[in-house]
Amino acid sequence: MFDMTGRNVLVTGASGGIGGEIARVLHGAGAVVALSGTREGPLVALAAELGERAHVLTCDLSDAASVEALPKAAIAAMGSVDVLVNNAGITRDNLFMRMSDEEWASVLDVNLTSTFRLCRGVLRGMMKARWGRIVNISSIVGATGNPGQANYAASKAGMVGMSKSLAYEVASRGITVNCVAPGFIATAMTEKLTDDQKGKILTQIPAARMGEPRDIAAACLYLASAEGGYVTGATLHVNGGMAML
């Protein structure tokens, strides 16, 4: 089950903890992976770790021209993009009343608009192939909201609505579009939390532990696989029971 041999995968945000693990797991299942991110160092290190079947494609998702160029670069490197994982995302947290237009726009631009553009960029090839998988990494806060994250939550909820609409349009062509919504996942970002903060978070998680990047990667592998082909327009919540949606 879940064999990805012969599939070409583009993962954005592969320089981060979750994106890197998604690439690792899909690669481990046999896929060719294109690793995209803004920081070249971690991408090159990951590509070296994976060995064959790994390509590095640096891209600044806040730059529209770079976003347009990314699917083309991925197709040039791998021959096609059969699976797109939109994992890259940024936060610019602030209280709603203090949030600037710039903080709002930059988060919507990178998290939602670049996802839209990348989906559009890979669809032509998927339509022709009559096969494709798009997995958009949303967030628990897109469903629950979170104080200080109006922009981020809006971008992640927007991703869900966008994915469902696209899923409708392309389902008859063998293309599925789904979201994975992580809860609290242990990454470099959560390392910065104090033990006290972590303790408080854990009281809200029935599983009584933070998730691992591997938990998210496994969900992506399922949705990207041939076996996940009848699942589309769905949001798979991976959050240890923190929000049962």
Partner: protein, 77 residues
């Protein structure tokens, strides 16, 4: 029939799975040949590749029939 019309017809027949004799001058892709809106997008993509041309969205909207497609491509190619 022109070479362009033959190539367009071949694409339409293959893509929509219709009988060749149904693909006539005034045949509407949607009303007569059973295409849905996504099929029309795919047809335009296929025409672009076959003839090495760009068909802008506003022009694509005017291509409703087989005859429209042949006429547009003849003038663009």
């Amino acid at each position: 029939m022109s070479d362009i019309a033959d190539r367009v017809k071949k694409i339409v027949v293959e893509h929509l799975g219709v009988e060749e004799n149904k693909v006539v001058e005034n045949a509407s892709f949607i009303d007569d040949l059973g295409a849905d809106s996504l099929d029309t997008v795919e047809l335009v993509m296929a025409f672009e590749e076959e003839f090495g041309i760009e068909i802008p969205d506003d022009a694509a909207e005017t291509i409703q029939t087989f005859g429209d497609a042949v006429k547009f491509i003849t003038s663009a190619a």
